[in-house]
Each structure stands twice: as C-alpha cells, then as structure tokens.
Homo-oligomer: 338 residues x 2
Amino acid sequence: MKADAIISLDHGSGGLASQNLISGLFLKYLTSPQLRDLEDCAVLGEYAGRIAFSTDSYVVDPLFFPGGDIGALAVHGTINDLAMRGARPIALSLALIIEEGFPVTDLERIIASVGRCSEQAGVAVVTGDTKVVPRGKADGLFINTTGIGIASHRHDISGKKGLPGDAVILSGTLADHGITIMSRQAGIDIGGDIASDTQPLHRLVGAVLEGDAGLVHVLRDPTRGGLATSLCEIAWASGVSITIEEDRLPIRPAVNTACEMIGLDPLYLANEGKCIILCDQDGAEDILQLIRRLPEGRDAALIGWVGEGSSGRVSLTTRIGGSRLLEPLTGQPLPRIC
Amino acid sequence: MKADAIISLDHGSGGLASQNLISGLFLKYLTSPQLRDLEDCAVLGEYAGRIAFSTDSYVVDPLFFPGGDIGALAVHGTINDLAMRGARPIALSLALIIEEGFPVTDLERIIASVGRCSEQAGVAVVTGDTKVVPRGKADGLFINTTGIGIASHRHDISGKKGLPGDAVILSGTLADHGITIMSRQAGIDIGGDIASDTQPLHRLVGAVLEGDAGLVHVLRDPTRGGLATSLCEIAWASGVSITIEEDRLPIRPAVNTACEMIGLDPLYLANEGKCIILCDQDGAEDILQLIRRLPEGRDAALIGWVGEGSSGRVSLTTRIGGSRLLEPLTGQPLPRIC
C-alpha cells in the first residue's frame, strides 16, 4: 500500500501533508471561493435577517449505507436543523476527525458525497478543519457540520409554539433511516428497497413558509429518538397534549416488516429527511397538498392533532381504537444512528 | 460507582438521559437564553457587517494540562480564528463526542471551563450537540467549536495581504502551549512555570484595528505547525519573502531549556494565545506599544520584516549572523497538540 493510500498523523499536523490533503482532495469536491482561500476563517457577505446557527456531529456506524453515507447525513442534517427554525441555510462548516490508517479512497468517496449534497442543496461548505488521531483513538471518521442560516422576521417557529387545535403533519414515511442503520449494525439483511431517507428539507420548508406566515407554529425533524420523542419534546415545550392516530402513520410495508423482525418500534427510530409540522388546522389541508407535490413530501400525511392541557402528554390511538401513551426514548439506547 | 458517575450510551440517545445531561450539567455552566431554549438551532439577532465563520475540532491529549484544558482551548481557539480575519466574535457552538465510560466529574470540569472562558471572553455558547460512542471508539472526549463573527467592511485582513516592507510583530512568547503538551505526552516533568498560553485574542485584535484601518495587513495565530509554518503560509499566500531575527524572538528561558531537553524546535511548536501581525512599518511601533499595554500582549516583539520576491521564502537570521531557511512543518508529526 502506498503511503498516501491511507491517512497518517502527518495529514493532521497542520504542515505540508495537511495542505496537500486539502488542496489535492478536499478542494476537488468542495469548490466555494472561501474554502479555496485556505484561511482558518471564512468571511461571507452581509445578510439581512436574524442569524440562525446549528451544530451536529455525525458518528454513524457504518459510514456507508443504502441511501447515503456519513457525508450526506452531515450535510442534510445540519441544513435540516436550520430549516426547522424557518431559516434559509447559507453556509456550512465541515470538521473531520480521522483515525490514522483510514483509507484515502473512503475519505474521497465521503468528501465527494459532501460536495454533491452541498451542491444539490445550494449550501456551500465555506470553512473546515481536519484532525487525525492515532489508530484506536477514534473509529474511522467522525464529522461535524455547523451551519449558518438567515431567519426571516416574518416567522417565529419553535418547539414552544404549538397551540391546541393545531394539526400535526408528518412530511413522509417513518423510520427509513433508523431501520436501515439498525439492520446493518445487527448484520441482518432485511432485503427489499429499504434505504435511508437522508435528504434536505429546506426547500420544502421554504415552500410551506412562503404562504401565510402565521399558519406554521412548529417544525421539527424527528431524528434521534424518533417521532415519539420529538412529539414529547414539542408537547412539553408548548404545554399541550398531542394525539396521533396509528392508521394515519405513513410507514413503508418493508420497513414495518423489518421493524417486526428486529423487534424495534418505528415510532422511536431516527428519520433523516422528514419533518413534523404543527400548523393552524385551517391551513393544514393546503399545506398537505403543497408538500405532497414536492418529491421530498410525496408521502406526507396528517397524523394527529394538538389538544389542551395535560402538558407533555402524547398518545397514540391504535388501529383497534385503544390509546397508548408515548414516552420519550428511555432504556435501550440505539447508538451511532447518525 | 453510581450509574450517573460515568457517561453511558443513553446520554447520547437523544432521549431522556440526553435531556437530563443537558439540563443538569450543561445549562448549569452555559447560560445563554438561546441554549436554554433547547432547540436544535439557535436564532440570534440581526447584525450589520459581513459574517465570519470558523470551525475547529479539539482532540488534545491530555485533556487537562498546566494553564488550561480542552474546554479552554476550544473556546479560545475558535474565537482567535475569527479574530484573525478582523472579525468580532459573537457566538459559539459546542459539539461533544464522548466515549462511553467517560467520568462525569471530568466532563463537568471541562464544561465549567468552557462556561468560564466563554463568559470571560464575552462570547456565548448558543447551540450544541452531544454524541456518545461505545468504549474504545473514541479517546475520552473530542470537542468541536464553531464560531460566528462580524467583520467590518473597514478591514480586509487575510494571509494574502502581506506587502514588502511590512513589519512582522509577534504578540508574545513562543511555544508555551506546544512544549507544555509535548512534555506531558512524553511523560517528562520539565518543572518551572511552563504552562499553556491559551487565551482569547479578540480584544487585542480589536484594540489594534481601532486605529488606522489600513495599517494591519495580516493576522495569523501560529497554532499547529508553529511560527515557522504560519510564516511560510503567509509568505506563500502573499507572494513575498519574510525574514525574522533569532535574537528578537520572545521565548521564556524555561521553554527554551525544555525544548533543548526534549529536542524540539520552538519555531515549530503550537501557540494558543499568540498572533503574528504583519503591518505597515510606519505603524509598527505604535501597534507594538499598544499591544504591550494589554496583558495578553505584554511580551510582544517586532521579530522581522517582509521582503520582495522569492515568494514563500522564510528565513531566520541566527544570533551569530547566519541565515537558516525555514520550511513548513514536515516529517515528524506532533499529534494531538490541540
């Protein structure tokens, strides 16, 4: 194996090898003028509006999976966190922690994915950092992406803004990302067309917010902890109760089968390209129709309603008409899902 | 050992244990209203000026060292990267990757340090993320901080702006951080008052830039790769040569001795609270006097000059009048210095 076929400690030294890695590999796929400047800090333009700011580290295992890889996840995840406050994403940072000995071919594949996802989303990587730690001190590759967005003064979207009477919309099918990763981790080939749903949601959110600005109260992407945990957080923060109906939940049959095989509840599995929308019930049907016309929202469904009182209480009306209380995720952790 | 004396995978699940860690520990020391909102994305105010954006991951080993810890380094390092473009830092994100089994007492000590440094610098942590990976898949704790700053239109500071005739100022003593970490890593007790120089430089930079806006051309903090590598990068980017004089370099005697003991060149060791300033020679004396009145710049010195041609060439005039060519760091890497 040639010396430059794997990442060495030299690549993280800040010296010549670091510069060669940046110029030879990163700049091949990440093409913003700010990144090409090779400064430790990017200077962007001036923007009117409030600054939105979000960070996430990605430690997903495995790094490559059906439907995506850690690079796609890192770009989409941070874009989505910005979008969930109604902000328009404008730039991303990319910070890598690489384990010594990591194959350069894998790194190149991941950086190419970051470049492609960032370009497709129209949100550039403008600044970055690379650290290398000795063998055994990390697990291949960890990525942090942090994003800046601009939030309009027209919107004030947060988990606290849910109101009794609001409709609860889910923008697409449940648990695709979670079951894809969990089945790989368990070494189970669940077959079928199961793949991660990793995708950016800022255009869907932009379209929803273009209309009547006051209609949308809460946006939340149900990632770690899944739909159930996200709804509990919203219900608690807004001081309301939420009821969802089992037979309205969009779940792919293959995902349902796989969840039953492995013994996992799709309500608690991570999604990486879906959002929960709480909106005024008068606007719900319009929003639903709008979202369904977009590729990222074609499976959207109205799944429930917000009720008064019982702050933090989330319940599921089952197919047979029973009621099941949904608690935030506790107990068995699902590690390294994103 | 009680269950909550160490970090478990549960703490990174996004469920109840994560929320308890955030509310019980992080919010005790990090007090910005945006962080208290517990949203995945912070929304700040509106700012006039260009947005500056910088990211860095910190993987320093050991996590605690004389003069600081990984938390202090993470706050100061990102503030300094923003300051080096002439930007006023306004907010930080904090993303943790924690190894399962990490002691909660150590985590608390580090978050307390982050809180203290962030408060002293007047730059709040407004958003964050916590991931936990299984035992053996990381090394205790890695931290990413990403920062936003506002760059005035009055300044256009970058590594490309060095001009022949510029004076080269160093804001304080060399190699304090690097020798502190390297000696700990080597298990050598070098004694004396050697400690990391980790400190924020945004106030020093602010004071320098308050005056004649055109005088300062380049600011750079010589972290990984040290003074020599940073000067090479500047000389290369600006298309100039740089000559520094050995007998003008401020180095503590204890640091010098320690470098000789371990066999390390202080020109290549990391600094975490110092900056290089290239400025018009007419303003150099005023800037030097101004910096020396500040605690973070009391040991500042004029160390050399920028010359024409020989793009990228950096040389050191030795005490005995010889000339030594300084190359960027290559060969022996110095891992996990920051």
